[in-house]
Subunit: 216 residues, 2 copies
């Protein structure tokens, strides 16, 4: 008996649903930071628990699907890729929740500076998550490669955010603790983008059967 296509479809549907929650978490954590919305930040923290639960449930579904014979190598690749995507999404949920918690702490403090590059970085990271999942559903190698290309934009933003915040810390010791929090927010966004890149690499493996990791 082959794995039931309905279960494979359910798994894909669940991963997409989880991805939608992750995109919401990234978006809302940034809104909480930019507009000092404590209720929004708390919602992101609550969302993380939902995402965590989905990860555990999905892993269990994948394990049961793997227990059946897989005459189709593409289907088998799909399931191993699903294990990785499931984990990447959970990690992103965790990083977005961490940013929401930093937003909560920063709400009590005066702003270091107007936020410009950090929201741009968040927007780019969120777009990469959406694109990588879109590429996964459509088995679209070209779109997956577009995600890989976008990662350079994220790294460029990170570099300029870092140098600016370090300058603030050097010039006014009062800002050290707050600037450091923003620096960690940027670091978390960079890691979210890295996880989207992982998903895009997995899609390329799924579609083309080639492992592009570590060839950047």
């Amino acid at each position: 008996m082959q794995p039931q296509p309905a279960l494979i479809e359910e798994l894909q549907h669940r991963l997409l649903e989880m991805g939608g929650l992750v995109e919401t978490a990234i978006h809302d954590s940034m809104q909480a930071l930019a507009r000092k919305e404590s209720e929004t930040a708390r919602q992101v923290v609550a969302l993380e628990a939902v995402i965590n639960r989905m990860e555990v449930e999905n892993d269990s579904l994948i394990l049961s699907l793997l227990g059946q014979p897989h005459p189709d190598p593409v289907e088998l690749r799909f399931l191993t890729v699903a294990i990785k995507i499931n984990h990447d999404l959970e990690r992103m949920g965790d990083l977005a929740a961490n940013n929401a918690q930093r937003a909560l702490a920063l709400m009590l403090e005066p702003p270091v500076k107007p936020l410009i590059d950090i929201p741009r970085m968040a927007q780019l990271a969120e777009m990469m998550v959406g694109q990588s999942l879109d590429a996964f559903v459509k088995r679209d190698a070209e779109l997956a490669r577009a995600v890989l290309a976008n990662d350079d934009g994220v790294d460029g933003l990170r570099d300029s955010i870092y140098s600016e915040l370090v300058r603030f810390m050097q010039e006014d010791s009062e800002t050290v603790s707050r600037a450091l929090s923003l620096l960690f927010v940027a670091r978390n966004l960079e890691r979210i983008a890295d996880h989207a890149t992982n998903i895009a690499e997995d899609v390329l493996f799924l579609v083309e059967g080639i492992d592009v990791r570590h060839h950047a």
Copy 2:
């Protein structure tokens, strides 16, 4: 035909070998930092490429093993756990190499302070990696739980390292950039310990069939 036990054994052997390289990378990156040994740091960076290659090869071996029928649910769990451990080890290699690169950059600068807590944190993280892999080979749930308990020690060290370095940055703006580098070294060690924790959780799932994630 069942997966050949010889191949399963080879996979376990390869993961252990990879874990040994990761422990070396953690240890040597810290030695490079503490003793300003640039050659040691460069060796760690080179080691990362070896670890990356092993990840790709192991994934390919796991995929071929998964392609065979798995009447034994424990064997199937072993293979899905192997996918995760393989990835956690690769991540640790990446973080150790990042620390080696920071050690190289810091060699050109005067020290911020004598390093005491960071080497202790590295030692604890390295021990957790060794213990988690030992628990994996011996299917030892008790040892896996000991790894989970050690993670609190790592978090405690991180907190004291953070507050000390932030104080340095606030009191002497000359130290900001260097203290920030040390802060990221500590952050990387914390993440290495998190990956060891992941492995320990996977071992518990393998041995006891229960998913302990997100119940900390």
